[in-house]
């Protein structure tokens, strides 16, 4: 095996061989067949995007609803009961009435309730006094901070609304804000998550799949066999990567079509911009896959490295789930090196806002630069090992 590698290096040394389009076409043809005949490729390129979009549309809703809370009614008064009725009437909370807080405390621990509201025995007196004394107590399940915040805000809103209705003559708030959400007025979290779905699938196709395919060739020793043929390194790499580039583009188109026609996500930018962004994102994605496979040289290592350097960062650090601005400075610095970060930012704009080149241009340049670095490293690693 090493003898074959040595020969390949020796043959490559005198000078770059002529780039031959026919050879390239044959290589692309062979790789495409190999990719398309494997059902797992199609699973990742077409079934996974569908599943992800379905889940983002129906399962991963950041807008909470039907949150189960308890209302502890310790007072028998008319006002207390009317407040409890106000809680029962809201659409977003599923209320379970109780008369003793011990009944609900256990349920909170067990996770059956996400919080409870205590309307205390002296509620009528508190209401009559009209001072700064709190009217009710809200207890939330802090082990789920998001839901806890939601329970707090919603319960607070119910109490305030109920109380405002009691004395309509009270002075209104001196300053009110009128929020207008641009690009996404209904605040559908689905629209904000679709770009994330595309970025994840493209990362899996570009980085994971490529890393596996090239690592397999190294693992089986066929990479060195191919390198010793008249085909140049450039032809071989393009031949390997081009089919996956095409697969990623087709998958993006499919996912975008699904998002627009089935899930009602707007595509306010141009199709050209979307395709350009996807094509440029494939450069660092494929480059990373190539680098990982060249360093790992077996599929187990390649998959682990691709998982932890490509997939999980695209999921957690790209800004589609968690705001990058809110991360501590060292982690914000790490995100600069993650191509998915630029892709997600531009994808959101192309879907929801339109063709804003002030957003696209720096993102495209950054993705191209990272891709260039990955390819340069992959090239160096390949050459070194063959000698």
């Amino acid at each position: 095996m090493s003898a074959a590698g040595g020969r390949a290096a020796a043959a490559a040394a005198p000078g770059p061989r002529r780039f031959d389009w026919r050879r390239l076409r044959a290589l692309v043809h062979k790789e495409s067949l190999q990719a398309l005949r494997d059902p797992s490729t199609l699973l990742i390129a077409f079934v996974l995007p569908l599943v992800l979009l379905l889940l983002f549309a129906y399962a991963v809703s950041l807008d909470a609803k039907n949150v189960r809370i308890g209302v502890v009614l310790e007072s028998d008064g008319v006002s207390a009961r009317s407040l409890a009725a106000a809680f029962c009437a809201t659409r977003y909370l599923e209320v379970r009435l109780a008369h003793d807080r011990r009944e609900v405390a256990g349920r909170l621990t067990a996770g059956e309730l996400r919080g409870f509201v205590v309307i205390a025995q002296d509620f009528e007196q508190r209401l009559a006094r009209r001072d700064t004394q709190p009217l009710v107590q809200i207890v939330t399940d802090g082990s789920y901070p998001n839901t806890a915040k939601y329970v707090e805000n919603y319960a607070r809103g119910v109490v305030q609304g109920w109380r405002a209705a009691l004395d309509a003559g009270a002075p209104a708030q001196a300053v009110t804000l009128e929020p207008r959400y641009w690009f996404n007025p209904e605040l559908a979290s689905r629209s904000a998550l679709v770009p994330g779905a595309i970025a994840i699938v493209m990362t899996i196709i570009g980085t994971m799949l490529t890393a596996l395919v090239v690592a397999r060739e190294w693992e089986r020793g066929t990479m060195e066999a191919v390198l010793s043929t008249p085909a140049s390194v450039l032809e071989i790499l393009i031949g390997k990567l081009l089919p996956y580039f095409a697969l990623g583009m087709v998958s993006t188109l499919g996912a975008a079509a699904l998002a627009v026609f089935v899930f009602d996500v707007p595509l306010r930018g141009s199709l050209f911009a979307l395709l350009l962004l996807a094509a440029v994102f494939m450069i660092p994605a494929l480059g990373q896959g190539l680098l990982v496979s060249t360093l790992a040289r077996n599929q187990f290592l390649a998959s682990q490295i691709a998982l932890f350097s490509g997939f999980l960062p695209a999921f957690m650090l790209s800004g589609f789930l968690f705001e990058i601005d809110a991360m501590p400075a060292p982690i914000r610095a790490i995100t600069w090196a993650i191509p998915a970060r630029y892709f997600v930012s531009s994808l959101r704009t192309v879907f929801l806002a339109g063709d804003v080149w002030a957003v696209f241009t720096p993102d495209l340049l950054a993705m191209g630069a990272i891709g260039f670095v990955f390819f340069a490293f992959a090239r160096r690693a390949t050459r070194k090992d063959l000698q």
């Binding site: 494997d38 797992s40 699973l43 990742i44 079934v47 996974l48 599943v51 889940l55 983002f56 399962a59 991963v60 950041l62 807008d63 039907n66 949150v67 909170l108 621990t109 996770g111 709190p134 107590q137 207890v139 939330t140 399940d141 802090g142 082990s143 789920y144 998001n146 839901t147 805000n153 109490v159 305030q160 009270a170 002075p171 209104a172 708030q173 001196a174 300053v175 009110t176 804000l177 959400y181 690009f183 996404n184 904000a192 994971m208 799949l209 596996l212 397999r216 187990f300 998982l307 999980l312 957690m316 705001e323 809110a326 991360m327 982690i331 790490i334 995100t335 930012s345 704009t349 804003v356």
Partner: protein, 377 residues
């Protein structure tokens, strides 16, 4: 007859041990593999623990203030000095305001009308328009909530005799300050252990099949259950070791209170890993190549994480998906691990989530056995 069976059992115990050692070595012998199995998950835990936050910090806000009065000045000052704001951009026209939002330079923009202070002085309610970047819908909403509370403070100062705005007192049980890290780190423990165990097991049979050594294993005296057991144990050991070290990191490095029973958590962790191993082996038994196995593991693992309730609570999902979520090991383990850390989850509740894990493990391991045997014939 009885003696023969006893002999066979004895033999199989020796064989099992030999195979277990062989499987463990095949994953851990190579120093690169050893490093890749243990180091990245722990590093990821450290990075993601700080990255995953749903608070809003360090954002830029734009202001177009057309009012020269006292109250708009007060409002702008308070927003400027608010902790979540990194930079304030003052602009002189509505066009500039929109351009800043379009380019993603600011998350929100305040448009203060010229009669703002006059309206407040007249005792009326003054309105401020807030343009929010809807591309960042979640952070946008949180930003508006922060801005609203600042506006309410300014309003309270302008009209001091208005009623108190907050007639409630709030207590957050188990996590008084709603520290998001206390939630995310235990959850990440489960997710990282899941992906590691899933990848290690899904590759195990597929690799042998691809390299051709699986046929040798099949013609050896090894029985199918032995193959399954010997392929399960290394991943179980690795996954559990990884899980325990991450739990330890959560307590020691992040100082997250651990209030539940460690023994119960350990038992749950092992059962959780075992059910993941079952899924991984089923994928592996069905795959002809390592590529199929890994991609299959992703096609199962990614949706599983999304459905598990880590990102959004299971009870928000449609009913069909809620049922589906019950078939995912991570769903149950998340409840156990979050509860064990923060809420001192009672043993009864833990057991209530343990038996689904046991059922999943039993079903998937049986499936794996059946599929291997199916290929044997």
């Amino acid at each position: 007859m009885k003696g023969v069976r006893a002999m066979r059992e004895l033999c199989s115990a020796t064989r099992l041990r030999a195979q277990f050692v062989k499987e463990l070595l095949s994953v851990l012998r190579d120093p690169k593999s050893r490093m890749v199995v243990f180091v990245p998950p722990v590093l990821q835990l450290l990075v993601f623990a700080f990255a995953a936050t749903l608070e809003v910090r360090n954002v830029d806000i734009a202001v177009y203030n057309q009012d020269a009065g006292r109250w708009s000045h007060e409002l702008v000052q308070r927003v400027h000095s608010a902790q979540f704001v990194a930079r304030m951009r003052h602009v002189q026209s509505r066009q500039q305001l929109r351009a800043l939002i379009d380019d993603g330079a600011v998350i929100a923009a305040l448009d203060i009308p010229a009669d703002f202070s006059r309206t407040i002085a007249a005792g009326d309610s003054a309105r401020v328009q807030v343009l929010v970047d809807g591309r960042r819908s979640n952070s946008g909403q949180i930003t508006v909530a922060y801005l609203s509370s600042i506006a309410a403070d300014v309003g309270a100062e302008a009209v001091p005799d208005a009623q108190p705005a907050a007639p409630v007192v709030v207590r957050n049980a188990f996590n008084p300050n709603l520290t998001y890290r206390w939630y995310i780190v235990p959850g990440l423990t489960g997710i990282l252990a899941l992906f590691s165990a899933l990848l290690v097991t899904s590759l195990s049979i597929a690799r042998e099949r691809e390299l051709g050594t699986f046929d040798q294993l099949l013609v050896s005296p090894t029985s199918t259950p032995e193959i399954i057991v010997s392929k399960s144990l290394p991943a179980l050991a690795i996954g559990t070791a990884l899980g325990v070290s991450m739990v330890a990191a959560a307590v020691v490095v992040f100082g997250i209170p651990f209030t539940g029973s460690f023994v119960l958590l350990l038992a749950s962790l092992m059962l959780f890993i075992l059910s993941v191993v079952g899924i991984g082996l089923t994928i592996s038994a069905l795959s002809m190549t390592q590529q199929q196995a890994i991609l299959g593991a992703f096609a199962i693992g990614v949706p599983a994480v999304l459905l598990s309730g880590f990102a959004t609570p299971v009870e928000n999902m449609p009913l069909v998906l809620q049922w589906l979520a019950q078939a995912i090991p991570l769903t149950h383990f998340l409840v156990i691990v979050e509860g064990s850390f923060l809420a001192a989850l009672p043993p009864g509740v833990v057991v209530g989530h343990l038996w689904p894990l046991a059922v999943i493990a039993l079903v998937t391991l049986t499936m794996a056995t059946a599929f291997i045997r199916g290929r044997l014939q």
